[in-house]
Homo-oligomer: 402 residues x 2
């Protein structure tokens, strides 16, 4: 069996944890498997490097920042290969260039285009454990790139797809995917299985276990994903296409506090206004999520939308730049909001799920400020301070603890 | 003018020093020069990485150690490019793979084979300062290698040769090449010029300013070398083929304390014994320097030689391994010795220089234990504790302070 195993920065934060991961991988290898390991930078090394960069340049060029950051994973993989060697097992570390891991050219947020598997195959044929830098790639200029948030998950899934691996295990600091964040909802329960689409919505909505790009990729190439803990032997959660047990109505509740609501008030009510607004935001690389348009007074209209909170400044700047062409009256910003979502493949064939969610929020006296839905998801925007209460009442309402 | 400028780890040890180096290079750039910068890892980072490696594996595989170590220079060059960007000058950092810097396959001690200059030329044509990782290369397996001691100097000289640079400036923590180490010989004087051969002997003999491989390379390709300080604007020492002033009899005195004397006592006096001994040492990669063979008692002979002190353990092990075939009586080791040498192109045409050196050592009551000479050099092995005295009396004898 060919297994791709991905470990995040926390799992390789120091020499003891590196030895722990090495032993786990060696056990898999000794059981007769081909093992490919994908690693992030050790601990908080990525943050350390960013701070170093800012010490000489408050606004470092993206290309050079990627050149700097990619050293982080290279340190991890070399250390891991040495750790495995000390356990008597042959291992080889490879960085993005050695693999080669081809990406688009955008520094800091590149996308994987193509992975050469020849070198990896050769090393596996030599009965080595192959350890590969996550998060990084090389673009057409032979420059290093990084994949952006959750990039190491994406590297692992892409490698699993390219190598036709039997499974891709994502090791994290929790034991799997839960019906809700156990720190917020004490009754939260670990799921044995979940579909790609459910996982995708949970990932997008801030469940935080897996990045949505990696789940998208897993779905596209049918990579069997397993989310499990690097600290325990517990079985984890399998993410795959068809979940054989009867589909639950709702499989999880997720919250995302990285949200700001922006209202552009008093826009002229004529064609092209919304286009110009969202085009400006798109050009500034801002992901707009929920959108609500309402008629204002005096032939004007208001447009309200949500964005990631860490893009707030960029968004305000982007709107300021087109202020004159837009002819608006005011921009209102509320950073004290959060999204709470329920996700479940069972919703498709069961109407009334959204209504039950709204009902329990009403009973808990929680005000809903915006609503957005998809086939397998209902999301509401509420006050940030009510998130914990909301998640618990929803978790209870849909009986997720059973 | 195309200038290659090399800065060692001390010169880029922290953000202030990085900014200092950036400003110096930018000044050169703004004066209209094409500037290529070669950097070592920041401060003691190489040692930090080696310690990290040993924490998971007391004897880390060389390939993985190089994979780890090469991150050191990559951090330096990325930081430097950001620093130059903050000064408003376009700069680009390149590592060994991006250049590409082809080496032999020996990890930890590779030799440069070929440097592709296309990428560098392109970046220079785009009016960028090009910043390149010293000390590292890539071998035919697409693996990172390191060049061994003084590797960054070698990188700089090789780049200067490949790019037909007008000069190669080696920045260090001293202002140039001195007639002797000023910490030991207070009267030591900075040389304005020196020939490659003199520099080569001084480098080999432990003057420490430049590594001999880099000087050899500079001589072979006629690269004009300048040794100068990164902390001051002083002019430094020019190393080149022909020094136009009348050649001094002796241009410098150098000491090397990284020496151990090994005596293999009571070897059988038959052919092949010396071969077998030095063959074993060569295979263990030990550089044997001075060699003395003497007849012992009872048809036996003794062989005495010097090796770098840091190779002592390896040497003893290598000799132990062939103990039985060698049939020797004893191995004696003395680590409290040092080499003191005088170097000067003028010696070739002036006999009696060695005799004057021996005379002044005799007058100072310093015992000479071994002697070795070349056309432009005389080396003696003496007790380590007499080095400082020896250097001063020799410096006086040849009137080097003038």
């Amino acid at each position: 069996m060919l297994v791709v195993k991905k470990f995040g920065g926390t799992s390789v934060a120091d020499k003891d944890r590196i030895m722990n991961v090495a032993r786990r991988c060696v056990a898999d290898y000794k059981a007769g498997n081909d093992v490919v390991v994908v690693l992030s930078a050790m601990g908080k090394q990525t943050d350390v490097l960013i701070d170093m960069a800012r010490s000489v340049n408050p606004n470092p060029p993206r290309r050079e920042l990627d050149m700097l950051m990619t050293t982080g994973e290279q340190v991890s993989v070399a250390m891991m290969a040495m750790a495995m060697d000390s356990l008597g097992v042959p291992a080889v570390s490879l960085n993005a260039y050695q693999v080669a891991m081809h990406t688009t050219s955008v520094y800091g947020n590149a996308r994987l285009k193509r992975i050469d598997t020849e070198r990896i195959r050769n090393e596996l044929d030599l009965k080595k454990i192959v350890i590969i830098t996550g998060f990084q790639g090389v673009n057409k200029y032979d420059d290093y790139t990084t994949l952006g948030r959750g990039g190491s998950d994406t590297t692992a899934v892409a490698l699993a797809a390219a190598l036709h691996a039997d499974k891709c295990e994502i090791y994290t600091d929790v034991e799997g995917v839960y019906t809700a964040d156990p720190r917020i909802v004490p009754k939260a329960r670990k799921l044995k299985e979940i579909t790609y689409d459910e996982m995708l919505d949970l990932a997008t909505l801030g469940a935080g276990v897996l990045h949505n790009r990696s789940v998208e990729l897993a779905k596209k190439y049918g990579v069997k994903l397993v989310v499990r803990s690097s600290m325990s032997e517990a079985e984890g959660t399998v993410v795959k296409e068809v979940v054989k047990v009867e589909r639950m109505l709702v499989s999880g509740v997720a919250a995302d506090k990285n949200v700001t609501r922006v209202s552009v008030v008093g826009l002229e009510d004529r064609p092209g206004v919304a286009f110009r607004l969202f085009d400006a935001l798109a050009k500034a690389n801002i992901n707009v999520d929920m959108i609500l348009q309402s008629i204002g007074r005096d032939d004007t209209k208001d447009i309200t939308f949500t964005i990631p909170r860490d893009m707030e400044t960029d968004a305000i700047n982007a709107i300021e730049n087109i202020k004159d062409t837009l002819n608006m009256q005011d921009v209102k910003v509320n950073s004290h909001v959060a999204k709470v979502s329920i996700v479940g493949a069972g919703m498709m064939s069961n109407p009334g799920v959204a209504a039950r969610m709204f009902e329990c929020l009403y009973n808990a006296n929680i005000n809903i400020r915006m609503i957005s839905t998809s086939e397998i998801r209902v999301t509401v925007l509420i006050d940030e301070k009510e998130v914990d209460k909301a998640m618990n009442v929803i978790h209870d309402m849909f009986g997720l603890e059973d």
